[in-house]
């Protein structure tokens, strides 16, 4: 039994449905990220778990208890806000001690716990300061300490790093991961930053239009996106629509109007009707000399339409009988002129079958 499960949850205001029939399971000690474009319902899901808003239908189980109607202050979850939401009139010590005082702990215990948690987030010595006197990164660490000190059953992060600059963001996400693992806390993390989610999570759930498209380990999602939306979201820019699929053992051959493509079967069975192949721009290989070795299965001939310099690489827009493909090539080689006829090669282990 999972620690947390959302069963067939829907949320909406009036005619507007934000979540429809959402299912999510989180195991104890896991850090699960909710990732998706803005408006996909990731923050709504998090606020629903926190109790800030109510589900229209469905059930929220936590630790085998029905939490659907439990008020916020009885849930015992920590919440870290995007804008920190520190209490401006209280010192750092009082901010962190806020939750402990409500639990009627004695003064000495509170003092010890606050000191210990400030040590963990590297903020000892800041007790007497006010939030306005701290930098963004420090404030966010106070917010994390304030949520952690009550030893919550679940820690919720709502885009906690999006107000920080790039370098600090990387340092803070490592910090969050370290603290989460050190204390063995179960956490749900919302972000629209792919790299951030992939780097700190045990599992990533990709949301779209209020539904989870795929939930899996970061590497699995990165290698084998299940749907076209997920593939597109994580950087697969090229899609091939096929007409027929033949499975031979752990390989499959896809037929198109212009040639055949052989791929390895990705883990997890795909439905019979899924006839789409996806590949990243950097995984397509490009050949200028066209002879018998560079034609046949997994090859496609095209013409360069546009060349863009991306720094690390050149991106070519290549027109083929199967549509336009984006191909990235190392910028160390000589750039190819627009109009050049070339052959594209799609390595079979990089070509992914998606829904």
């Amino acid at each position: 039994m999972s620690l947390l499960s959302l069963n067939h949850v829907s949320v909406g205001y009036g005619q507007n449905t934000i979540l429809k029939d959402l299912n999510l399971n989180v195991e104890k000690g896991e850090l699960v990220s909710l990732l998706g474009p803005s408006g996909c319902g990731k923050t709504t899901t998090l606020r629903l778990i926190a109790g800030f808003l109510q589900a229209k239908t469905g059930q929220f189980l936590f630790n085998n208890k029905n939490y659907t109607r439990v008020p916020i202050n009885k849930r015992h979850f920590g919440f870290v806000f995007q804008n920190y939401a520190l209490f401006p009139h209280l010192t750092i010590f009082d901010n962190v001690a806020f939750g402990l005082r409500l639990r009627k702990m004695d003064k000495k215990t509170i003092e010890k716990k606050v000191r210990d948690i400030l040590q963990i987030v590297n903020l000892n010595g800041f007790e007497k300061r006010f939030p306005a006197e701290l930098s963004g990164g420090q404030r966010q660490r106070v917010a994390i300490a304030r949520a952690l000190v009550i030893e919550p059953d679940l820690l919720l992060f709502d885009e906690p790093l999006s107000n920080l600059d790039a370098n600090l963001r990387i340092a803070m996400r490592e910090e969050i991961r370290r603290i989460q693992q050190e204390l063995g806390i179960t956490a749900i993390y919302v972000s629209h930053d792919q790299e951030e989610c992939f780097s700190i999570s045990d599992k990533v759930a990709i949301l779209n239009h209020g539904m989870i498209e795929q939930i899996d380990q970061p590497k699995a999602i990165y290698q084998y996106p299940k749907t076209e939306f997920v593939a597109q979201f994580i950087g697969f820019k090229n899609f091939i629509t096929c007409t027929k699929r033949d499975i031979h053992g752990n390989e499959a051959v896809f037929s198109t109007t212009h040639g055949k493509f052989r791929t390895k079967m990705s883990p997890g069975t795909k439905s019979e009707t899924s006839l789409k192949l996806a590949i990243r721009p950097e995984d397509i290989e490009l050949y200028t000399d066209i002879h018998s070795d560079t034609t046949g299965e997994n090859f496609l001939t095209g013409q360069i339409q546009l060349s863009t310099f991306l720094g690390k690489s050149y991106q070519y827009k290549v027109l083929t009988p199967l549509g336009v493909f984006h191909v990235n090539c190392s910028s160390e080689t000589q750039p190819l002129a627009v109009g050049t006829t070339i052959n594209l090669f799609f390595p079979m282990d990089k070509l992914v079958n998606v829904d």
């Binding site: 926190a50 109790g51 800030f52 008020p71 916020i72 202050n73 849930r75 015992h76 979850f77 920590g78 919440f79 806000f81 804008n83 939401a85 520190l86 209490f87 401006p88 009139h89 806020f98 939750g99 409500l102 639990r103 006010f130 939030p131 306005a132 304030r146 949520a147 009550i150």
Partner: protein, 276 residues
């Protein structure tokens, strides 16, 4: 040097204030310390020996204080509600709450006389409902004065509080709740302290307004005198301008003391005095 000429824009206003406010106030105050050409405090000593005056002063302070407290109690929930809603409803509610300020003091006071009088609306309703047997004596008491003043000054408190409450993010309340606070505790520990700056501004406006109000206490207070009415009688009925000046000076002094005390309380309640 050219850049620093901006202060010239202040000049017209300053001259006006100096001529028509500061000079007259200084003249009024300095005149109270003179007795037949000599400096003396006799006027004040006599006043503070006068039991009737002390009673009037205390009465005024009590009425003003009660008015201020009632305004705070009534405004807190109302302002919180107004600060949390958006759109058209908000402008409508703000316009409605400011309405008492737009009506004439005389009209407002006469309506209260009709409602609170011995044979007025209130007594009639209560007697018909058999809540009371004898008509209540509300009109011409401190209570009726307070009712009239609260009605008049409530808008100032509501506007001041809405101003600060609008700047308090919903996230703060949700953060408090997620840490285990009930709605009420979150209000008491987070919203209320952050409201203190607005509360002080509102309280000063209401308190000073009540202290110096003339029409409402004069019409609703009956024989119960307040300091402004007393001042008017000294000046206009008794033609004793010296005594009236002393009363005016005492009013100014009391106002300053009270405002000072309020600021002191504010700094204790909210050490930061800001919300960022």
């Amino acid at each position: 040097m050219k850049k620093n000429k901006a202060y010239l824009f202040l000049l017209p206003g300053l001259v006006f204030l100096l001529l028509f406010m500061i000079v007259p106030i200084i003249l009024t105050i300095s005149s109270t310390f003179k007795d037949q050409g000599q400096i003396s405090f006799n006027g004040y000593i006599e006043f503070f020996k006068n039991k009737y005056f002390i009673q009037v002063l205390m009465n005024t302070l009590k009425v003003s204080l009660m008015t201020t407290l009632l305004c705070i109690v009534i405004s807190l929930p109302v302002s919180y509600y107004i600060s949390r809603i958006h759109g058209r409803m908000k402008s409508v509610l703000i316009a409605l709450s400011v309405f008492p300020l737009l009506t004439s003091a005389i009209v407002r006071s006469f309506s209260w006389m009709i409602i609170l009088g011995k044979n007025g609306l209130l007594n009639e309703i209560l007697m018909n409902m058999h809540v009371i047997r004898e008509p209540l004596n509300v009109l011409y008491t401190p209570t009726s004065m307070i009712i009239g003043l609260v009605h008049l000054f409530l808008p100032l408190m509501i506007i001041s509080l809405v101003g600060v409450m609008e700047n308090i993010s919903d996230d703060l309340v949700q953060a408090a709740e997620s840490l285990g606070a009930s709605r009420f505790v979150a209000f008491r520990k987070i919203i209320f302290p952050l409201c203190v700056p607005g509360l002080i501004v509102g309280s000063i406006l209401v308190f000073v307004g009540s202290l110096t109000a003339y029409t409402t206490p004069a019409l609703l207070g009956g024989k119960q005198q307040v300091i402004s009415v007393y001042l008017y009688q000294n000046a206009m009925t008794l033609n004793d301008w010296h005594a009236a000046s002393i009363v005016a000076t005492i009013m100014v002094a009391v106002t300053f003391v009270i405002v000072g005390l309020m600021n002191l309380t504010a700094s204790k309640l909210n050490p930061r005095g800001e919300n960022s």
